[in-house]
Each structure stands twice: as C-alpha cells, then as structure tokens.
C-alpha cells in the first residue's frame, strides 16, 4: 500500500503518532538519563577497566604493563586463594542453609493465627538485623568471648564443652554463622509474607483428606512458597560469595600477632575470597591480581545464579503439576 492511497486522516494520524512516539522516546531517555550516565560511568566503564587491569600488573602508581594470563595463573597457584575459596564455600554450603532454615522456621512460628502478641515476637526476631555490622561484630566478640561470653557461660552451665570461638581456627566459621543466623530477620519477614499468601482453602481441603501438619507443610506450604525460597536462597548465596564486612572486622580485630601475611584470623580460618581480594588490592597493592580475582568471582556468581534459577524453575513446575 502506497502512502498516497491512504485516506488523508489516517496519514495525518500516523504522522502524529510517530511524532508522539518520538516525543515519548526523547522524554523516556531524558528521565532515565541519570541512571544511564551512572551506569556508563560507574558500572560499564569500571567493568571494562577491571577486565583490562586483570591482564596487567596495575598498582595505581607505577607504570602498567601487560602480563597476559599471568594473574589468572597466579590465582590458581596461590595457597591463600585456595584457603579463601574453601572458607567461602563453607559459608555458602553450611551457613546459607542454616540461615535460611532458621528464617523459615521462625516465620512458621510467627504464622500461627491465634497467638496474641505476634507483632512483639516478630519485632524481637527482627531487631538483630538493625544492629550495624560493625557493632554486631563487637557485640559477638563479647557474646562469644571464650571465658566471659554469655554463650559459653550458657554452654558450660548445661555441661557442654565451651569452645574458644574466636581463637580456635576450627570454630571461627561456626562463630560467624551463629552471628549471621542471629541476623536472619530480613529473610524471615519475606518468608512470613510468603506463608501468609498461601490460600487457606488449600489447608482446609487437605485437612478434609486427613493430612496432618507435617504432610501439609511438605506438600502444600513448601511447593507454594518455592519461588520465595529460591529468591531468598539466591540472594543469600550471592551474599555468601561476597562475604566481607563481618570477616574484615572479626579478622582485623582477632588477628593479633598471628601469621599476618594474609590476615584472615587464626590460621587464616576467616580468610574469605573478597577479604583476600581486598587485602591484595589495598594492602599489597596488587590491583591487577585483585581485578583478576574479581572477574573470576563475577563469572562464578553468574553461573551459580543461572544454575539455581534453572534448576529450581524445573523443580517448581514439577511440584505444582
């Protein structure tokens, strides 16, 4: 159809709508421009630079020389990196599930309808998340104190062995996990919202069929809130790979006199991947090496996120069927 064959009105309308469209595109771009500028300047450009630096011996001061794959090869040779990877995986595979299960468990406790004063309990479970990470580290240095900490006082009063949480390399990571589990309130609130969204009729129907609470939990609740579990789990997993603040504070405080080459607490038991990366970049000024570590981390985070989403999506559709 040629344009001349169109009736006058339609032609005008089309012209008008394309003008309108262009106007919207201009406005849209204008309104999104703060983010676009920030994205180019603070995300895309730095990522490109990080990839470039990872192939150099960049240290911010001297001349920058191209070193090829050397940084990447060094990462695999560095025994501290191996330690850091192991510690990080420990947090991801032990700490994350413990935190998520506790959060879900507390949420189910809070989801009982007939108990009075629920908001008070909810507040109590949520309060720990308000404690700033730094203050929390100080607090747990005291709570987990070998001789005078409340946890060890409680443990020895019921006749259990009281470990040296922050001095024994075997117990430092469990100590961090205890601290993080105490702060699971955010995930708990999300689980609580999910539990409340499960339609009551599902449970009623199951009751009529004679299902008990355990069966209801595994066959109704869990499949229904599976997307939330996936979301929380993914977020916690990404968080675990980037585990930093707590470890940085704990190890810088507890690291007196010990092997300070890498500085990861007693026998580097708290040397996590990002902590090692940070120390390499800002203490030893090996920024090219640190950038290579960061690039590898980004790749791993993306692969793991993809896998979690891929597999849980499959499982979720399966369990709904």
């Amino acid at each position: 159809m040629t344009s001349s064959s169109l009736p006058m009105d339609a032609k005008k309308m089309r012209k008008k709508s394309s003008i309108q469209e262009r106007r919207f595109a201009r406005q849209g771009l204008l309104f999104a421009s703060p983010w676009i500028i920030g994205f180019l300047g603070f995300t895309i450009f730095p990522i490109i630079m990080a990839i470039y630096y990872s192939f150099t011996d960049y240290d911010m001061f001297g001349t920058t020389n191209w070193v090829g794959w050397e940084n990447y090869i060094d990462i695999f040779d560095d025994r501290y990196t191996g330690r850091a990877v192991k510690n990080t995986i420990y947090i991801a595979l032990v700490g994350v599930p413990i935190g998520q299960i506790t959060a879900l468990f507390l949420a189910t406790l809070l989801n009982k309808k007939n108990v009075k004063g629920m908001p008070i309990f909810r507040t109590i479970f949520y309060l720990p998340t308000l404690v700033p990470a730094a203050a929390c580290a100080l607090l747990f240095l005291w709570v987990l104190n070998g001789k005078n900490g409340i946890l060890n006082i409680a443990l020895s009063s019921i006749g259990l062995k009281a470990p040296g949480w922050l001095t024994d390399p075997k117990w430092t990571k469990p100590a961090l996990i205890i601290m993080d589990t105490w702060r699971c309130g955010g995930a708990m609130i999300i689980y609580l919202a999910a539990l409340r969204s499960v339609p009551e009729t599902f449970y009623e129907a199951a009751s009529l069929d004679g299902a008990n609470n355990t069966q209801k939990f595994w066959n109704i609740t869990i499949p229904y809130i599976a997307p939330t579990i996936q979301f929380n789990g993914l977020m916690a997993m990404i968080g675990a790979f980037q585990y930093f603040v707590q470890a940085q504070i704990f190890s810088s405080i507890t690291d007196y006199g010990s092997n300070a080459a890498a500085g990861g607490g007693p026998r580097n038991s708290m040397l996590f991947y990002c902590l090692h990366l940070y120390r390499k970049a800002f203490k030893q000024m090996e920024m090219g090496y640190a950038c290579a570590m960061a690039v590898l981390l980004a790749i791993v985070v993306m692969i793991v996120s993809y896998l979690i989403m891929y597999f849980s999506e499959k499982k979720i559709t399966y369990s709904v069927e």
Partner: protein, 287 residues
Amino acid sequence: MSKKGEMNVTASLVKQKASYWFGVLELLFFSFIFIMPLYWMFRTALMTVNQAFARPTVWFPNPIVMDAYEEVMWKVDFGKYVWNTLFYCLVPIVGVLFSCPMVAYSLTKIPWKGGNVIFTIILFTMMIPWTVTMIPVYSIWANLGFTNSYVPLLLPTFFGSAYYIYLMRQYMKSLPDSIMEAARIDGASEFRILYTIVYPMCKTVCVTIAVLVFMAHWNDYTGLMLYLKDSSKYTLSYGMAQFGDPQANQWTEMMAASTVSTAPLIVLFFFAQKYFLNGISTTSGLK
C-alpha cells in the same frame, strides 16, 4: 457411637490446646535466645569492668553506672561524629529521591521501547559483585583527587541505584495510566506530571526508600573504610567500630560503643516499622 464421637472431639480439642501452648513456648524460647545478645550488650554497657567479669555472672547491673558511655564520648569527637552521620545519611536520601523516581517514571509511565531494556539491565546489574567495580571506581576517584572525602560515596546516589529504582518501579506500576494520559491531554509536561501528580502518590514508597537509604548509610562500613583516611570524617557507627580491641579488655566501652551505634536505629524502627517491613516484602515481589 455418639460417645465415641464426643471423645474424639475432646481429644482433638486437647490436642489443639496442647499444640497452641507448645507454639507459645517455642516462641518464648526463641525470643529469649534472640533477645539475649542485645540484652547482654545493654547490660555490659551499664556496668563497671569488674562487674562485667564477676563470677558468678551478674545478670542485672547493680549499681547502674554510665562510666563506659562517658569514656566513649570523651575518647572521640562525639559531636563531630553525630554531625558527620547526619550529613552522610541525609544527603543520599535527597540524591536517591531525586534520581530514582525519575528513572522509575521513565520505566513505567512513559511508553517507550527503551524502558524494558533498561529494566532488564537494572535487574542484571544487581547481580554484579561490588568487588568487580571496586578497584576501577576507586582509581577514578583517586585520579580526580576525591579520596578522603564523601564525594565518591554520596555523588553516585544522584545517579540512581538499581535496588531503589526497582522498589520505586514496583510501586509506580500499580498507578493507573489514565491519570497521566488525562494530564498529557491537558498539556502538562512530563516533569509536571511527575512532580505534581506522581510524587504525591508515591509518598509511602518514598518514605520506605528514605528509611532504607538512611539505614544503609548509617551501617556503611566498606565504603568508609575504602575512601576515608581521616578519623575526623568518620560516622558514628564507623567511628564506634574503632573501639574494637579485645586485648584492651575494655568490654564495657566496646558495648557502650555498640549500643550508641545501634540504639538510634532501634528507635527509628519503632517509629517507622511499617516502612521497614514494607520495603522488605516489596523486594521479594510478594507485595
């Protein structure tokens, strides 16, 4: 027959009652565990050092002494820290509430093709580890001569932040398009629509974001650690972290420092509880 039925009913009632009380007991037990560390912090901060280490354990400070708080406040320039904290926490609220509604408006209420593309990229950027951009961004600011200042930490908030744009978008999506269309027909510019119509409708989510931004900057440790060298620029919670030194055995001081950096947030929480919880459940897409 009917008797048997009655017994069943009584049995199930007893069972219900039992499970009710069991639930209450569980709640009390776990509340006790969760509140204990906080109590331990408040308790120790109000003690003398001798009391804190006394055996058998002293559960209630007696007498209550404020020595630890006094020490904490005299050892550092406390007034300066408070001032720094207010500056560091309030400026980003302005920044985020300037940039994020604008971007979210572009994504939801302006019908253009780029909106979806940008939203996808925003979601994607949330997964990029901060350590990847850490070094190049640091070297940019160092080259511009802005290290040891708040600029690298505050200026970026004026360019929007993925997470807050996301929260804002989730909310704005629910506003009816017909309002904007009507305003457009009346000849209102997009800026006018955003500032006179959309902003007032987004009050709740704006307050939620303000609370979250305030919290995030109050808690910030990594950013300050990277960029600040000068202790006169520290914020309250970062400055208080410098009291951490277990060898000095000044536990009462350390607990007073922790309390000082925690208590204001707890007070804020009690006033703005709704907004805290609002923000969390919006994130998970359950709102």
